[in-house]
Symmetry: C2
Subunit: 452 residues, 2 copies
Amino acid sequence: MREPILFPLDLPELSVELGGGTIRRTVHPSGLRILTEHMPAARSATVGFWVGVGSRDEQSERSDAPGSLGSTHFLEHLLFKGTPSQDAYEIATSFDRIGAEHNALTAKEYTCYYAKVRDADFEHAVGSLADMVTNSLLDAEEFEMERGVILEELAMAADDLGDVASERFFEEVLKDHPLGRPIGGNPDTIRAANRDDVDRHYRDRYDPSTLVVTAAGAVDHDRLVEMVLAALNASHEERWHTDRAGVPERRERGNLEPVDTREAGEGFVTVERPSEQINLLLGAPGFVAGDPRRFAFGMMNSVLGGGMSSRLFQEIREKRGLAYTTYSFGASYSDAGLFGIFAGSAPEKTAQVIELSKQELAKIAADGITDEEFERSLGQIAGSSALALEDTETRMGRLARAELGAGELYDLDTSLERFEAVTADEIKAVATYFANTPLTVVAVGDTGKMTR
Amino acid sequence: MREPILFPLDLPELSVELGGGTIRRTVHPSGLRILTEHMPAARSATVGFWVGVGSRDEQSERSDAPGSLGSTHFLEHLLFKGTPSQDAYEIATSFDRIGAEHNALTAKEYTCYYAKVRDADFEHAVGSLADMVTNSLLDAEEFEMERGVILEELAMAADDLGDVASERFFEEVLKDHPLGRPIGGNPDTIRAANRDDVDRHYRDRYDPSTLVVTAAGAVDHDRLVEMVLAALNASHEERWHTDRAGVPERRERGNLEPVDTREAGEGFVTVERPSEQINLLLGAPGFVAGDPRRFAFGMMNSVLGGGMSSRLFQEIREKRGLAYTTYSFGASYSDAGLFGIFAGSAPEKTAQVIELSKQELAKIAADGITDEEFERSLGQIAGSSALALEDTETRMGRLARAELGAGELYDLDTSLERFEAVTADEIKAVATYFANTPLTVVAVGDTGKMTR
């Protein structure tokens, strides 16, 4: 069996040939980490500046101010608002004039600022991103303006019933776990947010030991290392200078048993909103990122709700016309995870959809999957992963998640071997695990009309 | 000035070298057209089966049944439901087991069935798509089941305020023009739909003269032609056999002056829905697909609302925090087009957003754009187009739209030359055209709270 590529924190340099490309990794004495995947045929590249800090880290011992919920996401917005050398308009212009696909995202365990550009524009993009990440002013006036923008962003999400269901599902399944909180905070915490909290968050958590720069496509590793080091040392903020030794930060992995954060018993939560459809989520705590059952889960999930030929799609949509969209999914974090089933359907069909969902899960628990389903799931994972990895953005993200996560990168062949080695019993065991767990149900929409 | 690549209907074979790749086109005596773009470095390919029939063609002289609205989209669904050699489950399995990204889309002027796959799976995907397109049974029981699925799809769209605003905007701006109708019909027409209407639509409009097969990536043109011809001749339906001569169908291009389908005067339409935000669209009839002003429009649109540095984004979001999302856009069809501005913002901010939108348009009309804006727009169009064209799906779609449209393909360099040649006066003239047109406003949400 092949082994994953390991990224030990005390290994200064690493180079691995991989399927036509080369992965390289540098751990600088300052704690800064830079990882690249050179793809010989690529004429473009994606570069990301990642910080291993997400919404789950708000209201920790380091930051317990009332306005801190949503501060990670608030900070992400503010990094676009100006540095001593470029104001917000110049930052926007800097990416627009090269037609970059650029954006930022705040997740539960990390924050990322990235740009996808033509090869000739790569150095320009790196320079702009480095300036934003290391030199942002968090200007007080811009802070107030951005408060309004973020309130509009939350209002937009509040009007999206799927978003509402998803946030509520995390809250109900993970309860008081920090991963259960919404990423962006809520209107009250954003109204209460103040510049000092966000500024402290920036100064406390953004430095070379938390920064991971990854790039994939038409990239030159040595040149990128040189550029990033130069940018950090040119920062107006001393904490970025790389002459001091630092220890790279990596989130510790939690217990390999799922954190059982739920009260015993099945929860059924409704959020009443005028609507045509109920946005329905059923699920339970799932597996943490490193759980050895993750490959069996991947196969089970593919058969249960992973495509048009999956059991949920066939039973709920194709045989009965009860929904347009239905699928199952897993989400894994360092010390908690979720398993869920989604369906959108008319209120009077909800009860039947819930019943069918549980039935299909129970069937796999009782009888396992067929050989044909096993082969198909393997093929689906192999094909869709290969297509996804053509994109420089996917590879850039894969490097960062491996580095910020367990420090292990499963390349495509290695992970396919693991999926192939999953046994029928392991798949049944995973389905049984969830079939025997009381499922939380979240229903958002015109729930008064719902059958239960 | 470079010229576009022309696709005359009476030219049986064409081959053009283009930026490292090769575009080839075959027009078969049966009317069937096949176009490919070979990309030497590609390890995957996207193939699409296109039919030049869209929602605008419903309720024409050929089909005026009351249940016909939405029949094009209904047919698209049914093509996944089975042929004599594979039932719906086998079709789903056929794509899932290779991890294909496959789907179909019904637009206003065409319908497309496509799959993106690894190179080794290409022939398999072509076989499956060809079978669906030429041999579908439109089984009566499957028809009834799919009616429920489509009603759920419409319900999902009805819960999305952005979708509601967009459909209403088309209706209000284009009035009784067939392009103004929603693509999927509405719940009443779907409840009234019957199998005979959809079946007649399939038999009348799907044949070699309306079929365009396009592929990009790791493709062999001659082999694709051979495969598609073999599939058509193996069809259970004689109309697909390619031994009879046919004339390829291409939609006639309408008047180059925008169709003025509006009543005189400014319309302000509200759709009341409980919401946090108003989904706001302002706009007017725009330019048809071949309009010579389209390059000037592209530059004007980029400056007005084409990115984070655009005037709308700066004035509405960055300087005032009134919205999270705002942009401008154009949509062009063979004989009508639209120009629009979108913003999502709290009801009490709506009046200001409308005012600012009109002001920014008027400013470009009065003063034009700056040299810096001109250069930036060119760079943005060049960069984003180059990145988009890395995807085999983009190139596959480009070939089909050129063939089904005017029969002209502007490759990247040719179109960039046209953008570069736009004059300051032409840009001002385009802005003036819209600044002097009464704009229709559509507002969806809690409009009772709205300021006007």
